[in-house]
């Protein structure tokens, strides 16, 4: 499974719930496959998708809030796992698309292949799921409504040459759409 396929499956399953997507190809894939008002597309500040998602989750307890993170992104803001695990927001679903590489900058390796990200998330109070296939991904998405968050879904994806277009919304427009949708 490549990132864009996984992004499409999840975004369709998430429906109108807010998604905070990490900078780089992640946001581009989401924009191309399932653009909607409550998508917060990050185009900078690498690492902070999970923090922005936490802020939104804490203030919108009735909405399930989804974070689309990358392995390079979460490794850059690892403390965020501890903060989220301590506050235990029930409505936060933190998804890490793991290709063990910084694909947006040319595919340089990250260290995620040398460690067990899911185990770390489990140790800081997340409910964890590890997914390798589309079938498993769809069954996990069906089931997550039954569990209290924070939920961590680690999706192993392969790298790809496919490139989605850049997000064409201006940052202020992205902001205003999200504020309106929340």
């Amino acid at each position: 499974m490549i990132r864009k396929e996984a992004v499409k499956i999840i975004a369709e399953s998430v429906g109108n719930n807010p998604i905070i997507s990490a900078n780089g190809f992640m946001s581009r894939d989401l924009f191309e496959t399932y653009d909607k008002e409550s998508n917060f597309y990050m185009i900078g500040s690498m690492g902070l998708a999970s923090s922005i998602g936490l802020g939104i989750a804490l203030k919108n307890p009735k909405k399930q809030v989804f974070v689309f993170d990358g392995d390079g992104n979460i490794l850059m803001n690892f403390g965020s796992l501890v903060t989220i695990g301590s506050l235990k927001p029930k409505n936060l679903v933190h998804i890490v698309f793991d290709n063990s590489s910084h694909e947006s900058t040319g595919g340089q390796p990250t260290h995620s292949s040398e460690i067990n990200l899911a185990k770390i998330a489990k140790n800081v109070n997340y409910k964890i799921f590890v997914v390798q296939t589309k079938t498993k991904l769809m069954s996990v998405l069906k089931n997550i409504k039954k569990f209290k968050g924070p939920i961590f879904i680690l999706i192993k994806i392969s790298t790809s040459k496919e490139r989605s277009k850049r997000v064409s919304w201006k940052p202020k427009t992205i902001r205003d759409r999200v504020i309106k949708a929340l």
Partner: protein, 162 residues
């Protein structure tokens, strides 16, 4: 700034609809931070950028936030401020403790402390210095910036040694 005034600042901002106090502790701001703790209204994060991200999420949810930090953490956060807060124009109040204001402060603070006002100017983040006499006026200035959807910074100078 003395203890009484720092504690008053918390209550004043709270009464003016600042709902969230997120950040990394700093000794210059310790009485303000303690007042947040006493009122069980604080979120202490692992790094300053994380605090800015969380506060940004809260602001997008129409809930006003203040992010507190030492100026060492402000220096860490410059890229986050420019590529998240300023790029998307997310309204936030930064409260920054200014280490290295006194020329004989601890050595690790001297370099950033010396260029602190220039750093704020260079990135175009409007700021005001809070004192025991002017804090209410300056807080009102910050609240006005927030109403105009602009981020801004309030700075408290470290005037003592320990």
């Amino acid at each position: 700034m003395n203890e009484e005034q720092q504690r008053k600042i918390y209550h004043y901002l709270k009464s003016k609809n600042i709902e969230n106090f997120v950040g990394v502790p700093d000794s210059t701001l310790k009485h303000f931070i303690d007042e947040c703790l006493q009122n069980d209204n604080i979120l202490i994060t692992t790094r300053e950028e994380e605090a800015i991200g969380i506060a940004a999420g809260m602001s997008l949810s129409k809930s006003n936030s203040l992010v507190f930090m030492q100026n060492a953490g402000f220096a860490n956060s410059i890229s986050t401020i420019t590529s998240l807060i300023q790029l998307y124009e997310i309204p936030l109040i930064f409260l920054i403790g200014w280490r290295g204001y006194l020329p004989d402060d601890a050595p690790e603070h001297l370099k950033i402390g010396k260029i602190q006002p220039e750093l704020l100017k260079i990135i175009g983040l409007k700021s005001q210095i809070l004192t025991e006499e002017n804090w209410k006026v300056k807080c009102n200035w910050a609240l006005k910036q927030l109403k105009q959807k602009k981020p801004c910074a309030l700075v408290i100078r470290r005037m003592f040694h320990d």
